[in-house]
Subunit: 159 residues, 2 copies
DNA sequence: GTCAGTGCAAACTTTTTGCAACTAC
DNA sequence: GTAGTTGCAAAAAGTTTGCACTGAC
């Protein structure tokens, strides 16, 4: 599917969602949706607001929070609660991916694996209907591992 | 392994960790470790502090945050960043489990599956060494699903 | 015209920080 | 004795709320 079609499609979904739930179709809401679907990967509330201001469309924090709540409910956005900072992500037509989080430097890397995805999606759950999931894998990235190894060697030389 | 042994063992691990990193072995730190390993399942900072006060051991917020940082680093505690609320959990000698989170009522249920655990643990990761992981599965629990179905039926009767 | 939605600022919650007093070493 | 740690209170960061004004319907 082309990017253009995705943008049209999510606008359609959001419009239907708003109508169905008796919400108004304000320009702010569609501007936020547009901006979110122009961002690849994660973003914070602050990044989103700054990015909107760069595009000369000023919206208040309150409106951003309000709209994100709607988009989450409409399943057009996913929320990640990483260590103290909420990160959001567009979710329509996006390949499910997993997160590698380095406990040293805090960097988050996406990791795609269809095998893993299928394994998780096909598991039988007791009295529960899964709509989506988030997998966070913590550990040490190769960069930090290298730095640690160098440090350890220096330590040994001292001893 | 018996509970008693676990308590002794984690104290040992924590002692070694503190010594290795040049930290002091204060009574507060061991009291917090003790309390955490007496709690089954998740707990918030507030719950932990209240629980400690019930046991007549008063510690400040700052000390709890400080000690939790150490325990996380020592891999004796796991942190979950659920929607806006940080939850912690003891991790030594605890069977890895997954989380079913209801998007309606917010309840979190643990879900154990060795198959799933093995699948996740054995996946090959690019330039990354995993130490642990968290899987959050979002959806609707059977209770909320029932309520939703009833609501839908009532809606239909009206129409 | 009406009322949901917006912007703004204040309030609230959770976590971090600065500092004086304390204590493990 | 000294430097790391604690408790307290203040500050910071993130999110929610109250209210007057605006604009989608």
């Amino acid at each position: 599917m082309e990017d253009c079609n995705v943008n049209i499609k999510v606008k359609q979904i959001f419009t239907e969602y708003l109508e169905k739930n008796g919400h108004r179709k304000t320009p702010e809401r569609f501007a936020i949706l547009d901006k979110i679907y122009s961002i690849d990967g994660h973003f914070s509330i602050e990044q989103l607001q700054n990015s909107m201001e760069d595009s000369k469309f000023r919206v208040s924090r309150a409106t951003i929070y309000n709209t994100l709540t709607l988009l989450l409910d409409a399943a057009l956005v996913i929320k990640h609660s990483f260590d103290n900072s909420s990160q959001y992500e567009k979710s329509y037509n996006i390949q499910t991916h997993h997160h590698l989080i380095c406990t040293e430097c805090g960097k988050v890397k996406d990791f795609k694996s269809d095998d893993l995805r299928k394994n998780i999606e096909h598991i039988r759950l007791p009295r529960f209907t899964m709509t989506h999931y988030s997998l966070y894998m913590y550990g040490i990235c190769s960069d930090c591992k290298r730095i640690k190894t160098i440090k350890r060697k220096k330590q040994k030389q001292k001893e």
